[in-house]
């Protein structure tokens, strides 16, 4: 850095509308990120006038890994481990549509028991993810209890996932044609015990977080997203449902055995940061209910269709979407008849929250930025793929 370098030439720090004598009367441009100042690996360029955000320009791409291109050089099975890397906290959720799409393109039948196991694992993973997110949301609002409690309760569910799949976080459990291994004999009983205890714990969350005046002061009425804006900007998942739109892929386009299970779509009409934090909490109840129902209904039988080591896809394309913890997650897969996919396209929920985030941050206070940003459920690694 040269001595003569002025303040305005330092990247990410510049003043606009400066008077001739150098006094600033204008807008300050700040670069939040990309090296994790509480935003993930993601840069947010905010222009502030005093304390108010005039404009927010999200700048994704810092952790782009080329997942889609990588898929073209690996066969359908080898793609499994790296495809869960964009979102390891919800690794079943991000792998689910890929597995469904490969099954369609390779024409693989799935045993009935495997479908139930997948639903159970996907719902347990949804809770694992929501707790992780809730914990981080808490710590960025300065509520350290809210970090500790969900992180500890998450262990109950990680323990279940680890028992079934053999790994704590990156399960690599779903494969085209079912799941990798059957559940251990002790699993249903242990799962019921843990899930029922977890459901009771969730009730305490309302007392300590959602009824807490300190949490409410930071979130209620902050970053209000109207129903029309949510639809027009393409919001998805809990963000969309917190604005009062009843849209859930598990109901709209049921996959596997979701149409046989009884659950509700949670909506709230406020559309503020509080509602976006409250909807996932209510959804965790539904997830527990779905998992318990699936455990009851689960038939016995095989869990995996035997495949060759290198399954070939038929010429054609497949589009499958699921409701992951953050919203609608879709895979578009094109096959030219080779063991490797011709093209894989991921449509991830985090990427779709970017315009919503820019819309909500405009006109908000700078101090409300963490509250709005974390309520979006935005994960940079997933958005960049």
């Amino acid at each position: 850095m040269g001595v003569e370098m002025g303040r305005e030439r330092i990247p990410g720090f510049e003043l606009e509308g400066r008077d001739e004598d150098g006094m600033d009367r204008g807008i300050l441009t700040l670069s939040v990120g990309p090296q994790h100042p509480g935003s993930g690996h993601f840069r947010l360029i905010v222009k502030v006038d005093g304390d108010m955000i005039v404009e927010a320009l999200p700048d994704p791409g810092y952790v782009h890994r080329g997942e889609e291109k990588m898929c073209e050089y690996r066969n359908y099975i080898q793609n499994i481990p790296h495809l869960e890397r964009p979102m390891i906290a919800d690794s079943c959720g991000i792998l689910y549509p890929y597995v469904l799409a490969v099954e369609e393109i390779c024409n693989i039948a799935v045993p009935e028991r495997a479908k139930y196991i997948r639903v159970i694992m996907a719902e347990i993973n949804r809770c694992i993810f929501e707790l992780y997110w809730l914990g981080i949301y808490g710590i960025f609002l300065g509520h350290s209890t809210m970090f500790m409690w969900p992180m500890a309760d998450r262990e109950l569910l990680i323990d279940l996932a680890e028992m079934a799949s053999g790994a704590r976080v990156t399960h690599a459990y779903f494969v085209p044609g079912g799941v990798r291994n059957d559940l251990p004999d002790a699993f249903p009983e242990k799962a019921k015990r843990h899930l029922l205890y977890f459901k009771n714990r969730l009730k305490e969350y309302k007392d300590i977080f959602y009824d807490n005046p300190l949490f409410q002061a930071r979130t209620v009425g902050v970053g209000i997203l109207s129903k029309e804006d949510a639809i027009n900007l393409g919001a998805t998942g809990p963000v969309l449902r917190a604005s009062g739109v009843e849209h859930d892929i598990r109901k709209v386009e049921p996959y596997d055995v979701y149409d046989e299970l009884d659950f509700e779509v949670i909506t709230m009409k406020e559309g503020d940061s509080f509602a976006r934090a409250y909807v996932p909490w209510l959804e965790m109840y539904e997830s527990v209910e779905i998992a318990l129902q699936a455990l009851e209904k689960m038939p016995s039988g095989p869990v995996r269709t035997k495949l060759g080591p290198n399954p070939k896809g038929a010429v054609g394309e497949a589009f499958k979407r699921v409701e992951a913890a953050r919203g609608e997650l879709a895979y578009y897969l094109v096959s030219d008849g080779n063991p490797k996919p011709y093209r894989v396209k991921l449509s991830v929920p985090s990427f779709r929250e970017i315009p919503v985030m820019a819309h909500l941050l405009k006109g908000a206070k700078l101090a409300d930025m963490p509250s709005i940003y974390w309520s979006m459920n935005y994960w940079p690694v997933e958005a960049d793929r």
């Binding site: 323990d159 053999g166 790994a167 291994n181 059957d182 002790a186 205890y197 009824d211 995996r304």
Partner: protein
């Protein structure tokens, strides 16, 4: 606005935890118990057997040096390379066996799914920390050793809440 009552309820809910057992696992002294004997795979049925996916175990008397595990790992982690072993085995004419670099392995277990001879399984051992990168490379002889990992603690749930206990 019920901010005073909200504050009191918050405090009451938090102070309940003074009487509840601590959930933390005191790790190096207390170790988690896993189901089964590590992740295994039955190539006849084409389905795995549930278990923890830790460090691998290689059965020298079954490995034929077919390289299928190494091929499966290509494009995933490229952690497996085939190396010469000193001893001669009847089923392994080429005398090559997998060597695994745990600096690269992602513990997905797809190499275990690829082995058609029941020679490569996974174990409960996850304590693989080493001082140098070279120490993370496990030779076929090191992989043949059964790990000493012994975990006894698991999550217990009763009226005192959830906690780890033997």
């Amino acid at each position: 606005m019920g901010s005073v009552s909200g504050m009191l309820r918050t405090l009451a809910s938090g102070s309940k935890h003074l009487a509840i057992k601590r959930f933390t696992l005191r790790y190096p002294e207390q170790k988690l118990k896993f189901v089964g004997d590590g992740y295994q795979f039955d190539p006849k049925e084409g389905v795995g057997i549930a278990g923890y996916r830790g460090r691998h175990i290689l059965y020298h008397d079954k490995c034929t040096g077919c390289q299928l595990c190494s091929i499966a790992c290509e494009g995933i982690a490229e952690a497996i390379s085939m190396v010469k072993v000193d001893k001669q085995y009847k089923q392994n004419k080429k005398g090559i066996m997998p060597q695994i670099d745990y600096g690269k392995c992602v513990f997905c277990g797809l190499c275990v799914d690829a082995c058609p001879f029941y020679a490569l399984f996974m174990t409960d051992d996850y304590e693989l920390a080493a001082y140098t990168k070279e120490h993370l490379i496990y030779t076929p002889d090191q992989l043949a050793v059964k790990p000493k990992y012994q975990g006894t603690y698991e999550i217990k749930i009763d009226e005192l809440g959830a906690y780890h206990d033997e």
